[in-house]
C-alpha cells in the first residue's frame, strides 16, 4: 500500500528485503544456516552504548552460572544510578540511564556466600542535546592535509534559527 511506503524507515522507502520477503516466507523450507557455539572459551564482559538512554552489556564467563548477576551503573563518585539483577543463566542485560551520564558499570555475581566482583567498565552515555560549549577554534588544511590554526569565519551563529523553517513551501506551492 502506498500509505505504508515510508512508514518503516526514515530512509524513505521500504526496508531491504521488503520485496522478496513474501517469496522467502513462502519458500518450500526455511534455512537458518549453520549452528553457532553457545559460547566461547575465556572470560569476556562487553558494554555497548546503544543510544543516549540505553546500554547493553553481555558477558561470557566460561559457562559459570551463579544464582544471579547484578549490573550496577555508578557515578564517578560511587552513587548508584541504576541497578538490575538477572538470573544466573542470563548472559546479558539492558540498562536505561539518563543521557550524558558518565560513570562505571559494575558486574557482580550473587551466590550463596555473597556478592562477587566480576568486572567493571567505564561508560559515557551520548548527549541528546547541543553542547553547552560555544568556544570556537578554527583550522585550515595545508597541502599535506595537516590542520593549522586559522582565523574564524565571521557571521551569525546558527542556533537562533531553530523553529519552523520559513523557506519550506508545499509541493504544489510554486
Amino acid at each position: 500500500m502506498s500509505s505504508d511506503l515510508f512508514s518503516k524507515r526514515d530512509h524513505g522507502h521500504p526496508p531491504l528485503g521488503a520485496d522478496t520477503a513474501d517469496a522467502e516466507a513462502n519458500a518450500p523450507f526455511i534455512d537458518y544456516g549453520k549452528p553457532l557455539p553457545e559460547g566461547y572459551p575465556g572470560r569476556r564482559v562487553r558494554l555497548m552504548i546503544r543510544d543516549p538512554e540505553r546500554l547493553f552489556v553481555y558477558w561470557e564467563l566460561d559457562g559459570w552460572r551463579p544464582h544471579k548477576f547484578a549490573v550496577t551503573a555508578l557515578t564517578p563518585h560511587g552513587d548508584i544510578v541504576r541497578c538490575v539483577e538477572v538470573p544466573g543463566d542470563c548472559s546479558d542485560a539492558w540498562l536505561e540511564l539518563p543521557p550524558g551520564t558518565e560513570g562505571r558499570l559494575l558486574l557482580e555475581a550473587l551466590t550463596g556466600d555473597g556478592r562477587h566482583f566480576v568486572a567493571e567498565l567505564g561508560f559515557t552515555m551520548p548527549r541528546n542535546r547541543p553542547s553547552d560549549a560555544t568556544d570556537e577554534a578554527w583550522g585550515s588544511l595545508d597541502r599535506e592535509g595537516h590542520l593549522a590554526p586559522a582565523q574564524g569565519i565571521e557571521g551569525t551563529a546558527a542556533w537562533p534559527l531553530d523553529g519552523v523553517p520559513p523557506w519550506l513551501y508545499t509541493t504544489s506551492g510554486r
Binding site: 524507515r9 522507502h13 517469496a23 562487553r46 558494554l47 551520548p126 509541493t171
Partner: protein
Amino acid sequence: MPSLQAPVGSLSLVLHAHLPYVRHPEYESFLEEDWLYEAITETYVPLLRMMDRLEADGVPFALTMSITPPLAEMLADPLLQQRYGKRLQDLLELAAKEADRRRGTPFAEAADFYVRELEEVREIWEGRYGRNVLKGFKRHQDEGRLCIVTCGATHGYLPLMATDEGRRAQVQVARANYRKHFDRDPDGIWLPECAYAPGLDRVLAEAGIRFFFTETHGLTFATPRPKFGHYRPVFCESGVAAFGRDPECSKQVWSADEGYPGDADYREFYRDAGWEAPEEDVRPIIHDGVRRNVGLKYHRITGKVDLQDKQPYFPSAAASKAAEHAGNFLFNRQAQLRHLNGQLGVHPHLVAPYDAELFGHWWFEGPTFLEMFFRKAAFDQQELRLTTPRQWLADNPTAQICTPAASSWGDKGFYGVWLNGDNAWIYKHLHRAEERMAELAMRYSNPTDLERRALNQAARELLLAQASDWAFIMTMKTTVPYAIKRTRDHVHNFNGLYLQVTEGRIEEGWLGELEWKNAAFQEIDYSVFRSDYVTARGAGAAVSSRFD
C-alpha cells in the same frame, strides 16, 4: 543582501548506493540476487543514463555517490553479469507479452514504455558499458562530474565493533577495493548507516580519507557547538571534515506526508505483474514457482485506496510530475539558501543524502526528477551552486574544529536499529571473531601459501558476517531467515578456518569451496587486521571490553 543572481549557497546531492553481497554460485538462481538485478535495471543504469544525457547535452552537474565495496564487487562480477543478462532478457520477453496482452487497454502506454525502457537498459548496460556500469561511473568521476566515495568494506557498523583492528580493517579493505575499481584512492567515505562515534575520524584519517557525512545531530550536538550548525562542515581534530545531513532536503523527498514519491501520478510499487500476469509468462523470472514482484507495474499510486482500486499508470504524466517536483525542490532550496545566507551572513552548504535505490527502484520516477533538477539548476537560476564535498573543501579550506556527536541515520538517530532484542545475539560471535582475526594476523606473519589462503578467506568471512544489513533486516523483520543464515554461515566458516589454521590442519577442499562461494575482495590481505598497524587506538568505539 546578496544579488538575486549571485550564488547564495551550495548544495551537495549525495546518493548512497549499497547492497549487501548477495552472490550465490552454489545455486542456479537465488532469490536475494534479485535485489541486485532489480537495482541495476531500475536505479544504477537509469542514473548512469541520466549522467550520460546531461553530459551529451552540455548540462553541468555535480553529484556525489557512494558505491560500496560489496556493490562494486557484484557489479564487476562475471557470474552475476551473466545471470543479470539472462534476467534482463527474461524480463524483456515478459514485458513484450504484457504489451501484447494489454494492447487497446488503458495500460497500453505503460506496457509499451517498459519494452522501450528495458531495451534501452540493455543497450546501455551491455552495448555502452560492456556489462559493467562501474566503467560509466568511473568515467564521469574521471571527467570531474561525479565524486565517488567509498564505504566500509562490507557496510559493517563501525561503532559497534569490538576492536580497533576490526574498524580499521573495514576502512582499509574498502580503500584497497576502491583503488581496484576506480584507479585512485578514495578521499571521502559514506560511513555505513551514517554511524559515527567520536574518534572514528582518526581511523579515516589513517586511510587518507578527507571527509565523511553525519546525521544532522552529529553536527548540531557536536562539541563545541558549531557556529553554523550543520550548514557548513566542520573539521575534526584529525583534519577530516564532517558534513551534516540537512533534514529539510530529506523531508521533501522521503516524508510520508510531504514527500514527492507519494504523488498520485507516480508508479505504485506494490501492484506488480509478478502477481497478475499468466503463470507461464512469469515462471522464468520467479523462483521455485512462488509469485513475487518482478518490476513491471502498470498502476499508479492513485491515492489512499486499496490495491485493487489503483488506476492505470501513465509514464508520460508521471514524468511531467517529476519535472514539476524538481522545479519545486529547486525553488525550496533556493529559498532556503537565500534565507540562511541572510541570517548567517555566510555562504551555507546543504547536504542532501539519499539511498540511491530510492531513485528508480522504490521511486520509479526518481532518476527523471534528478535529471530535471540538474537541468533546471544549470539553466533556470544562479543562486544555488551545485557542488560536491571534494569541491567545497577545495574552495573553502577553513572550518571550525569540533568533535561530532555519536549518531546514525536509523530510527531515532542512534544505534538502536542495529542493537536491540532482535539482533543483539550476533555481537558475541562477531566480537570474538574480530578478536581471533587480529590474533591470527599477528601470529602468522610469514604464512605458507595454504595458510595465507586460509587467513585471507577468514578475513573475507568475518567482513561478510559484519555487514550491517543482517542486523537491519532482523530488526525490520523482512527476510529474517536469510539474514540469520548469512550471519551464522559466515561466522561458522570463520570459526572453522580459525581452528584449522591454529591446529595446522587446513582442509584445502573446504577452503577452495569457501573461496569459490564467498569470493569478494580477491585483493584482500589479512594483515590489515594486525594490531601493530593500528594507530588510532580506541577511536570510534561504542563498545568497551574487559577480559582476563
